[in-house]
């Protein structure tokens, strides 16, 4: 392919050409790209690749999932904790379409993935052949890039491009569809060379200093600067640069749900979470600050609330690597386009050392109010019903904030993200942009492979757990050390909360029954407990964390507890409700 530039290695002694099948070449490429773990599921159109994989068992760890959706969410979890692209194998037709939710999730949450799908023989394309589906067109809107390979000779250059695109710039999912004939076809495979340039693709913009200067000037003049940050800080590996930046400026910093864990929870400048179920201070004071500095975040509607009442009083500085994000939702005063690993230090150099004590005190006051009104009854409840908050609170105590917390989607997700303590980056794995129920369990499997030395706790609701509970089979077969906490309120809690608050308690189909989760886990040979009483919670959690291998802990929590604070839909962030 003409667009892939090949960098010759300096000590390229002699050409190492081998006559191999497309499948073997693909596996060699994965090894060259340092892929250790692949999540997948075999099927007709990807059989040649799986046949080749039989001989590569030692070099590539393949995790057999129970559903292709599980494989892609696992790959996402892997990518989030490891920082490397997650790799997925799936067959054509239903195998490929089962990846769609995960691709959409990875696209909106900028998660690097390389998905390999099998496809029918090239001569059968377009004939409605068995398990043929037009996966390239189906996935076009939800992939950063995709490509169909019909000839094995394309495999090296296309795969090189795939890994480069998935992991550079603003990361994202890439799907490569390979017809069965290309997997089988033998060709002369030369030494694999990685890709580092595509002429039509500019992952890293050149930073223009005049914008840095303008931004620094605004920050230096600010009396009430407020930093809001997203996953860009983590994706750019710029946690240290970010910390230096806010520390020098003495600026309070609040995070989006995907920015969580980029800054330690106990950092004095960490003022909490933004958005619909975020903290009180960060939301209210967004409409009080004079300069709002957004770093690697995209002003999602769940963060901004009503746009025409969002930070209208403030000058806005937006640091982002993706030009399409600038001015997309919120009009910026100064846009700093670039990789925040580069732009943040340049900015830090130019800003004055300040403290902004009074301004920080305001956040503290809001925090106190919020703690009194909301958090005390969540974290230190006096009623007999267990709360989600106290579970997370105890988990913090027992793991010392060192665990990777994977959450699913719903009330428990908001609670887990807001209350969980983190000491290091890449510790929070959740489905932010797409809000994919069923993400948690498979993502936790992947998260464990991505960070094998760390404790991985999956916090999941009773609804979301039932969407992908088949992955208990994957945990069983591969002895994946994942701790599963099911916060069971016997409702689809978040929707129920909205129905209570906005639909006059018309609980339309949110009353959900669950199986006996303990018996279910036992059926998969996974030890499990059910906790109904407060006195047993701490010991239960301890036992779970001390278990060698997977463990499931179901906690029965109050049925109709609500998540507060809350910015109701259509309201401004400063209209956040505490009850």
């Amino acid at each position: 392919m003409e667009t892939v530039e090949i960098i010759k290695e300096k000590k390229n002694t002699e050409p190492q050409t081998r006559n191999v099948s497309g499948s073997v070449a693909l596996l060699e490429i994965l090894i060259a790209e340092k892929v250790e773990t692949v999540f997948g599921y075999p099927g007709g159109a990807i059989m040649p690749l799986y046949d080749a994989l039989y001989d590569y068992n030692e070099k590539i760890k393949h995790i057999l999932v129970r559903h292709e959706q599980g494989s892609i969410h696992a790959a996402q979890g892997y990518a989030r904790t490891s920082g490397k692209a997650g790799v997925v194998f799936a067959t054509s037709g239903p195998g490929a379409t089962n990846l769609v939710t995960g691709l959409a999730d990875a696209m909106i949450d900028s998660t690097p993935l390389v998905c390999i799908t099998g496809q029918v023989f090239a001569h059968l394309l377009g004939t409605d052949a068995f398990q043929e589906t037009d996966v390239v067109n189906i996935t076009t809107p939800i992939t950063k890039w995709n490509y169909q390979i019909t000839d094995a000779t394309e495999i090296p250059s296309v795969l090189a491009k795939a890994f480069y695109i998935a992991q550079s710039g603003r990361p994202g999912p890439v799907l490569i569809d390979i017809t069965k004939n290309a997997q089988l076809q033998k060709f002369d495979f030369e030494k694999y060379v990685t890709c580092n340039h595509i002429r039509s693709y500019r992952p890293k913009p050149i930073v223009r200093e005049e914008y840095i200067e303008q931004a620094a000037e605004l920050i230096n003049e600010a009396k009430k600067p407020f930093v809001i940050f997203g996953q860009g800080v983590i994706l750019g590996n710029a946690e240290k640069e970010f910390k230096n930046f806010i520390e020098k400026g003495g600026m309070p910093a609040a995070w989006t749900i995907l920015g969580l864990s980029a800054l330690p929870t106990d950092h004095p400048l960490n003022v909490g979470m933004l958005g619909m179920h975020g903290n009180y201070g960060p939301n209210v004071l967004t409409n009080d600050c004079d300069v709002l500095i957004a770093v690697g975040m995209r002003f999602d509607d769940r963060v901004t609330g009503r746009l025409d009442k969002y930070a209208k009083q403030a000058k806005i500085i937006h640091l982002d690597i993706d030009p399409a994000e600038i001015d997309k939702n919120v009009k910026t005063t100064v846009a700093v386009w670039g990789d925040c690993k580069e732009t943040l230090p340049l900015l830090t150099k130019r800003i004055d050392k300040k403290e902004h004590k009074e301004w920080l005190q305001k956040f503290e006051e809001h925090k106190q109010k919020e703690t009194e009104v909301c958090f005390n009854k969540d974290l230190r409840p006096t009623t007999d019903k267990l709360t989600m908050g106290e579970v997370i609170n105890l988990l913090n105590e027992l793991t010392d904030g060192k665990a990777v917390i994977v959450s699913d989607v719903g009330q428990h997700q908001m609670v887990a993200c807001r209350y969980a303590n983190f000491r290091q980056s890449r510790s929070n794995v959740t489905s932010g942009g797409l809000g994919t129920m069923g993400f948690g369990l498979p993502a936790a499997i992947g998260a464990k492979y991505g960070a094998p030395e760390r404790t991985v706790v999956a916090v999941i609701g009773d609804g979301g757990f039932q969407m992908t509970l088949q992955e208990l089979g994957t945990i069983m077969q591969n002895n994946v050390d994942v701790k599963i906490v099911i916060l069971n309120n016997e409702f689809l809690g978040m929707v129920r909360q909205w129905q209570e608050l906005f639909n006059e308690r018309r609980y339309s189909f949110t009353d959900i029954q669950s199986p006996d989760f303990v018996a279910l886990a036992n059926a998969y040979n996974i030890p499990a407990q059910r906790i109904l009483e407060r006195e047993k919670l701490k010991d239960g959690l301890k036992k779970m964390l001390d278990t060698d291998g997977a463990h499931l802990l179901e906690v029965i929590v109050g049925k109709e507890h609500n998540v507060f604070p809350m910015v109701p839909q259509g309201c401004s962030v400063s209209e956040i409700r505490l009850s």
């Binding site: 003409e2 667009t3 530039e5 390239v136 067109n137 076009t140 809107p141 950063k144 890039w145 995709n146 490509y147 169909q148 695109i165 340039h197 595509i198 002429r199 039509s200 693709y201 500019r202 913009p205 050149i206 930073v207 223009r208 914008y211 993706d322 030009p323 399409a324 600038i326 001015d327 997309k328 846009a335 386009w337 670039g338």
Partner: protein
């Protein structure tokens, strides 16, 4: 364009709240699927494409798209950024009709006998700047190039003589302020584009963007 521009109240074709025609120019790699990748950027936002032309540019392997839509500048700007973000897209620009010279080509097939007997062919050709591209015993094909209204006029003129078939091409446009465009496109042939090409140009004003 913030004002509501009312062009013709009689047939109620007026422009709403700053919407006007924009031509979006996109330079892409010659890749299968790029048309879909670009077109879904419009369809996802329920924006109708009025006209779409795609053909090879003057540089081998690089294609140029001419896309015409009616939208506000704010929306167009966002669309162009989304287009340019696509991996296989080299560059994307947008312009109003005032900023471009544009043409559409149309072909008209009419019965030869009727047209020869009854129409003043010579007048037709002169008046509409039309050319005859084929004459056969049974039919004749005229061709004309111009703006939509001009090609429409010839339809009206030919209809009385039994117009058999009509087809119009998509719009192609040349940007008035496109100094050095060709040279810049040529630069993409080289491995590293020149510094101006990789510059952070979207932050600049629109007029400077055109210098590529």
């Amino acid at each position: 364009m913030n004002t509501t521009e009312i062009k013709n109240l009689n047939n109620s074709s007026f422009t709403v709240a700053g919407k006007q025609e924009y031509m979006i120019n996109v330079y892409t790699e010659n890749q299968i699927g790029i048309l879909n990748r670009i077109s879904i950027i419009f369809s996802r936002r329920k924006i109708n494409i009025h006209s779409l032309n795609t053909s090879p540019s003057e540089v081998e392997g690089i294609h140029r798209f001419n896309i015409v839509i009616e939208e506000t500048e704010e929306i167009v700007k966002k669309l162009v950024r989304q287009i340019e973000k696509q991996v296989d897209v080299l560059k994307a620009y947008y312009n109003t009709n005032e900023e471009i010279i544009w043409q559409e080509m149309a072909l008209y097939k009419v019965p030869t006998d009727l047209i020869m007997e009854k129409a003043k062919v010579e007048r037709l050709l002169r008046e509409f700047g039309a050319r005859v591209v084929a004459i056969r015993k049974d039919y004749t094909v005229f061709e004309t190039t111009g703006h939509r209204e001009e090609t429409d006029k010839l339809i009206t003129a030919l209809e009385p003589y039994g117009l058999i078939e009509f087809v119009r091409s998509a719009r192609v446009g040349i940007i008035k302020e496109s100094k050095g465009f060709h040279a810049k496109v040529k630069e993409f042939e080289q491995r590293e584009p020149g510094s101006e090409v990789i510059e952070n140009e979207y932050l600049d004003k629109q007029s400077e963007v055109f210098t590529m």
